[in-house]
Symmetry: C2
């Protein structure tokens, strides 16, 4: 079977998955336009299909989003555009006066080696802080407090943040799938 290719501009993502599954993983940078949707699953699914069509090898892509209860689930998979246009400060302004601070952040990893796509999602529940806090991280890190914590992601070290990571949850699901799959391949009569 051909090597799995992680479609990303960040070569560390291929290394991360290589370490996870203990097999060689390629990395490819493709300019795939993401589709409009609030659902990271839908965005990742379409991206995986397009990447597979382009490369013809098993591909892994991912997408990340943030759901804020007081904003009716916005920004969802469109979080990049919120951060790009109004920043985390802007998200706090949108929530001014909202007592309900509940939010979640999620990563969806999509795997495709044909016409079907497997989705692996990890979610961390939490709340939106009332002000910008912390200098680490990026994106929504200075305003997102995971449940059970008093600090935002941006107030944690990268190591601490990694222990409360929706990406790790999604990656563990991917690993289980790939391990089971390779067992099945091995057991298949030749």
């Amino acid at each position: 079977m051909k090597n799995i290719t992680v479609v990303t501009g960040n070569p560390n993502k291929a290394k991360e998955i290589e370490a996870l599954i203990g097999a060689a993983v390629e990395s490819a940078s493709l300019d795939i336009k993401e589709i409009q949707s609030l659902s990271i699953g839908e965005v990742a699914r379409e991206k995986a299909l397009v990447a597979y069509q382009a490369l013809g090898v098993p591909v892994i892509v991912d997408d990340t989003g943030m759901n804020i209860t007081a904003l009716g689930g916005l920004p969802g998979a469109l979080v990049f555009w919120f951060l790009e246009s109004i920043g985390p400060e802007g998200i706090l302004r949108l929530m001014r006066g909202s007592e309900d601070r509940r939010a979640s952040v999620s990563t969806c990893i999509a795997y495709c080696e044909g016409s079907e796509v497997q989705l692996f999602e990890g979610t961390i529940q939490g709340t939106v802080s009332k002000e910008i806090r912390g200098g680490n991280g990026f994106g929504y890190d200075p305003i997102f407090i995971p449940d059970g914590q008093s600090r935002t992601y941006a107030e944690m070290t990268p190591q601490e943040k990694n222990t409360i990571s929706m990406r790790s949850i999604a990656l563990a699901k991917l690993r289980d799938f790939l391990v089971q799959r390779s067992d099945q391949v091995r057991q298949r009569p030749t």
Copy 2:
């Protein structure tokens, strides 16, 4: 030359352009996923390229957006997802306490008959009302007041609304382009 095809689920759009340019226009319904962007020009451009690849005839597509100054330009081309998730009431809630009510609504029509795309944009400046007003129209109509008016789009009859239409502005630009283009074709030495 092959007939122009308007890519839309709404056959009235083909009739509208037929009347505008005085020539036969086809209509085709294609499931094209729109790309993520705040810019309706970018969304319409990509949609036109994909539609041309699929059909191989000159195509027309369009996209509509809303820019709200107090929201840093959001929702832009993503307005559908705002209306879908939080509705016009939700947009008013996001703007609670904002004295700056400026906004604009725009339509971009994209024409493609090869690798190049022509964009024709129409914009109406206005303000966001402080409450839902009027029962006509849809989408942002109950909260958008065009400049020079005291009523929202939803408080106008369809005929009144059509006289203050960003779509009409974009269509007039498209007509000028197509007329000039067909003159050039006619004048070309054979």
